[in-house]
C-alpha cells in the first residue's frame, strides 16, 4: 500500500466507524417512528461530558459502565418526556420537539461547562500510540472500525433472530397493524432508543478518545454527518447507514489530504486548496442522493397508497 495514502485511509475508516455508530441511532429511530431524532448528536455530546465529570470522580473501570448506563437512561427519558406524549400528534410536531430537545441539551451543557473546552480523560491502552504498517497512530483509530462492525453484526443478529427484533421489524413495517396484533408499541420504541443511545455512548467514547475536547457543540457536526450517512445509505436501513458512514468518513479524509497526495506523486506542483471542500463534499453528496435516489443506497421502496 502506498505510504502516502495509507494514513488518510486509516483515519477515514476510523472516522467512518464513529459516524456509523451515531448513524445507526438515527436510522433505527427513523425506521420505527418515522422521526428524525435531531437530539441524537447532542446525546452523543452529553455522553462525552458525563465521561469528563465521571472520570474525575471515580476510577475509569467504574466510570465507563456508569456513563453508558446514564446515557441510555437519558435517551430513554427523552423519548418518554418529549416524544411519547406526541405519539398521536402530526409528525412535524415530534420533529420540532426533537429540535427543542437538541437545543435544551446544548444549552444545558453550555450552562454547566460555562462554554469551556473540557479535556476528555485518557482511557489507558486504547489511547496508546501504536505503529501500524510504518505509521504512528493511536490504538483507538485501529480498534474503532472493528468494534463498529462487531456491534453492527450483533445488532443485526438481534433484529433478525430475537422476539424484540421481530417486534421492531413489525412496528417499522406498519405501526397500527402491529399494535392490533398485540405488540406493545411503547416498549418496542423504548428498546429502539435504548439501543440507539447505547451505540451513541460507545461512539462518543471512541470519538472523544481520538479527539479529546468536549464543548456543547461537539455533537452538532458529527451528528449532522452521521445523519447524512444515514440518508445516503437509505434511512431506515442499518447496513446502509454503516456503509454510508464509512464512505463519507473515507471520502472526507481523502479530500482533506488530496492536495498533498497529488503534490507528493507529482500530479500538481502547487497547493490548490481542495482540503477546504471536505465538508462541502458531504453535503453536496446529501443533495445529490436526495435528488437522484431519495431512498438512498439500500433504502426500502415504499409506495404510498392514496
Amino acid at each position: 500500500m502506498d505510504k502516502t495514502i495509507l494514513p488518510y485511509l486509516i483515519s477515514g475508516v476510523s472516522v467512518g466507524g464513529q459516524y456509523a455508530l451515531i448513524a445507526i441511532g438515527y436510522t433505527m429511530v427513523y425506521g420505527i417512528l418515522r422521526l428524525i431524532n435531531f437530539a441524537h448528536g447532542d446525546v452523543f455530546m452529553v455522553a462525552g461530558l458525563m465521561m469528563v465529570y465521571a472520570a474525575a470522580a471515580m476510577p475509569l473501570s467504574l466510570a465507563i459502565p456508569l456513563v453508558i448506563i446514564l446515557t441510555v437512561l437519558l435517551g430513554f427519558t427523552i423519548e418518554r418526556v418529549a416524544y411519547r406524549p406526541l405519539r398521536t400528534a402530526p409528525r412535524m410536531s415530534v420533529m420540532i420537539s426533537a429540535i427543542g430537545v437538541s437545543y435544551l441539551l446544548q444549552n444545558l451543557a453550555l450552562y454547566i461547562t460555562g462554554g469551556l473546552n473540557k479535556n476528555y480523560p485518557q482511557i489507558p491502552w486504547i489511547s496508546d500510540r501504536v505503529t501500524v504498517l510504518g505509521m504512528e497512530t493511536s490504538r483507538v483509530t485501529i480498534i474503532t472500525p472493528f468494534l463498529t462492525v462487531f456491534l453492527v453484526v450483533l445488532l443485526v443478529l438481534l433484529i433478525n433472530h430475537t422476539k424484540i427484533g421481530m417486534a421492531m421489524r413489525a412496528v417499522s413495517l406498519n405501526f397500527e397493524t402491529s399494535q392490533l396484533m398485540g405488540i406493545r408499541i411503547n416498549s418496542v420504541i423504548s428498546a429502539t432508543f435504548i439501543i440507539g443511545t447505547f451505540l451513541a455512548a460507545v461512539g462518543s467514547m471512541l470519538f472523544f478518545t481520538n479527539y479529546p475536547g468536549v464543548v456543547p457543540t461537539s455533537g452538532a457536526m458529527p451528528g449532522l454527518k452521521a445523519f447524512v450517512a444515514a440518508v445516503f445509505g437509505g434511512i431506515g436501513s442499518i447496513p446502509g447507514a454503516v456503509i454510508g458512514a464509512f464512505i463519507i468518513g473515507i471520502a472526507e479524509s481523502l479530500i482533506k489530504g488530496l492536495d498533498t497526495i497529488l503534490i507528493v506523486n507529482g500530479t500538481i506542483t502547487e497547493q490548490i486548496g481542495l482540503a477546504t471542500f471536505s465538508d462541502a463534499f458531504t453535503f453536496v453528496l446529501l443533495i445529490i442522493i436526495l435528488v437522484f435516489k431519495p431512498t438512498g443506497l439500500f433504502g426500502e421502496k415504499t409506495t404510498d397508497k392514496v
Binding site: 494514513p7 479529546p212 489530504g257 507528493v264 497547493q271 486548496g273 482540503a275 465538508d279
Partner: protein, 384 residues
C-alpha cells in the same frame, strides 16, 4: 387558575430583573465585550479575569470631581461574528461609556460598525488583526498587530528553529488565524509554505498532521483557537508529528499547557506578557484567582497566568484614565481623549498611533515545558 399562574410567573420574571438595591455613588458603566462561550470562550473568560481583578482593586474613579462606582457590564459575543453586533448593541443600550474587548479579531471587526454608529469608543485588548482599527474610527487597541506578530514568528521559525518549509493551518472564515497565517507566509516566503484551512466544527485533525508530514515540512504553524489547538496537540502526539508547533498569542493559555503536559512535543508561542516581569502584580492576581472559585474555574482550574489576563488588567486602567481625562461619562467625550492618552501598565507603555493602534515593538516568545506544564521564557523578539 391558569391566569393566576401566568401572572405569578410574569411577576417572578419582573422581580428578578428589577434592580435590587440603589448604590450611593453615581455609576459609570464599562462594557465588557468578550466571548464567554464558543471557540474562544476560554480565552475571553481569562481576559475578563484581568478586568475583574482590576475592578476589585480600583472599584471607583474620580471624574471631574465626582466619585463614580465602576460597573462592568458583560455581553457574550459567543465567539461568533453573527452574534457580535447583537452583543455590542446590548452594551450600547445599557448605556456604557466605553467598551473593552474583544478577545478574537473577527468579532471585533464584526461589531465595529455597531460601535461606530453609536459613537461609543472601544478598546481592543488582544485582538491583533489590523482591520479591527483600520476599518473603524472608534476602535483602539492596546496590543501589537498581526503583521508584526507574523513576522516575529516567521523570523523565529527561520533563525531559532532552523525551519525551511512551514505548514500553515488556519480556520476557514476566521479573521485571526487566516490573517496571521498570511502575514507569516509573507515573511517566511510563499514558496516555502503549505497553507491549508479547516472548516468550522472540525474535530479530526489527523489528516492535516499527515499532510504536514507528507509534504516534508519542518515547522507546524497553527495560530487557531484553543479548542482546535487541544485537538491538534493530541493528534500531533499520537501521530508523532516530529516538528515544532508554532502559534500566536491565542495559545498562551492553560488549555494548551493542560493538553501538552506529558506529551513529547515542542510548542512555541508569541505573547504580550511573561510571568515574572512584575512579581508583585503576579503574586496579587494569583492570590485573588486562588481564593475565588469562579475565577479559578474560569482560569482553567489553576493559577497559571495568561497574558490576556494581564492585558485585560491594563485595559481596565486605560479605560479609567480615559474617563478621567475626558472628565465626563459621555462616550463622545471619552472618544475625543483616547488618541492622546498615555498610560504605563504592567505590560509596558501604552499609547495610540493615528489609526488607534498601540505603539508596541516587542513580543515575548515562550515555549511549553511539557514536564512541568508551565511556560518557559525563550526570548524577547523585536522587528526592524
Amino acid at each position: 387558575m391558569k391566569k393566576i399562574l401566568a401572572v405569578a410567573l410574569v411577576l417572578c420574571l419582573v422581580l428578578a430583573v428589577a434592580p435590587m438595591a440603589f448604590a450611593d455613588n453615581p455609576v459609570v458603566k464599562i462594557g465588557v465585550f468578550e466571548p464567554q462561550s464558543g471557540d474562544n470562550g476560554a480565552g475571553g473568560k481569562q481576559e475578563i479575569l484581568g478586568m475583574q481583578y482590576a475592578n476589585q482593586l480600583t472599584p471607583t474613579v474620580d471624574i471631574d470631581g465626582t466619585t463614580y462606582d465602576v460597573e462592568l457590564v458583560y455581553a457574550d459575543n459567543a465567539s461568533a461574528n453573527d452574534k457580535a453586533p447583537t452583543a455590542a448593541q446590548s452594551l450600547i443600550s445599557s448605556g456604557v461609556s466605553l467598551v473593552l474587548g474583544s478577545y478574537g479579531s473577527g468579532v471585533s471587526i464584526a461589531a465595529g460598525d455597531t460601535f461606530a454608529a453609536a459613537e461609543v469608543p472601544a478598546i481592543g485588548v488582544t485582538c491583533t488583526n489590523p482591520q479591527v482599527t483600520s476599518e473603524c474610527e472608534v476602535y483602539f487597541r492596546i496590543c501589537f498587530l498581526d503583521p508584526f506578530q507574523g513576522t516575529v514568528l516567521a523570523n523565529f521559525a527561520k533563525s531559532e528553529l532552523g525551519a525551511t518549509k512551514a505548514y500553515c493551518l488556519a480556520k476557514q472564515g476566521d479573521d485571526y488565524s487566516g490573517g496571521l497565517c498570511n502575514y507569516f507566509i509573507d515573511a517566511f516566503g510563499k514558496d516555502a509554505c503549505v497553507y491549508e484551512q479547516f472548516p468550522e466544527g472540525t474535530s479530526d485533525f489527523s489528516t492535516y498532521i499527515t499532510n504536514a508530514q507528507n509534504q516534508g515540512c519542518d515547522v507546524f504553524f497553527s495560530p487557531v483557537s484553543t479548542e482546535a489547538a487541544a485537538q491538534i496537540i493530541a493528534k500531533a502526539d499520537t501521530q508523532a508529528l516530529g516538528m515544532p508547533i508554532l502559534a500566536g498569542d491565542t495559545w498562551d493559555s492553560n488549555v494548551i499547557l493542560n493538553a501538552a503536559k506529558g506529551k513529547d512535543l515542542k510548542i512555541c508561542v508569541t505573547t504580550f506578557y511573561q510571568e515574572g516581569a512584575d512579581p508583585d502584580f503576579d503574586k496579587g492576581i494569583k492570590e485573588w484567582i486562588k481564593n475565588d472559585t469562579t475565577a479559578l474555574a474560569n482560569n482553567g482550574g489553576n493559577d497559571e497566568l495568561a497574558a490576556v489576563t494581564v492585558m485585560g488588567f491594563d485595559a481596565y486602567y486605560v479605560a479609567l484614565e480615559a474617563l478621567k481625562a475626558a472628565g465626563s461619562v459621555d462616550p463622545a467625550d471619552v472618544l475625543e481623549t483616547l488618541p492622546s492618552l498615555e498610560y504605563t501598565g504592567v505590560t509596558g507603555k501604552i499609547a495610540f498611533d493615528d489609526i488607534g493602534d498601540a505603539l508596541r515593538d516587542s513580543a515575548f516568545v515562550k515555549t511549553c515545558n511539557t514536564e512541568t506544564g508551565a511556560w518557559d521564557f525563550v526570548t524577547v523578539a523585536t522587528v526592524g
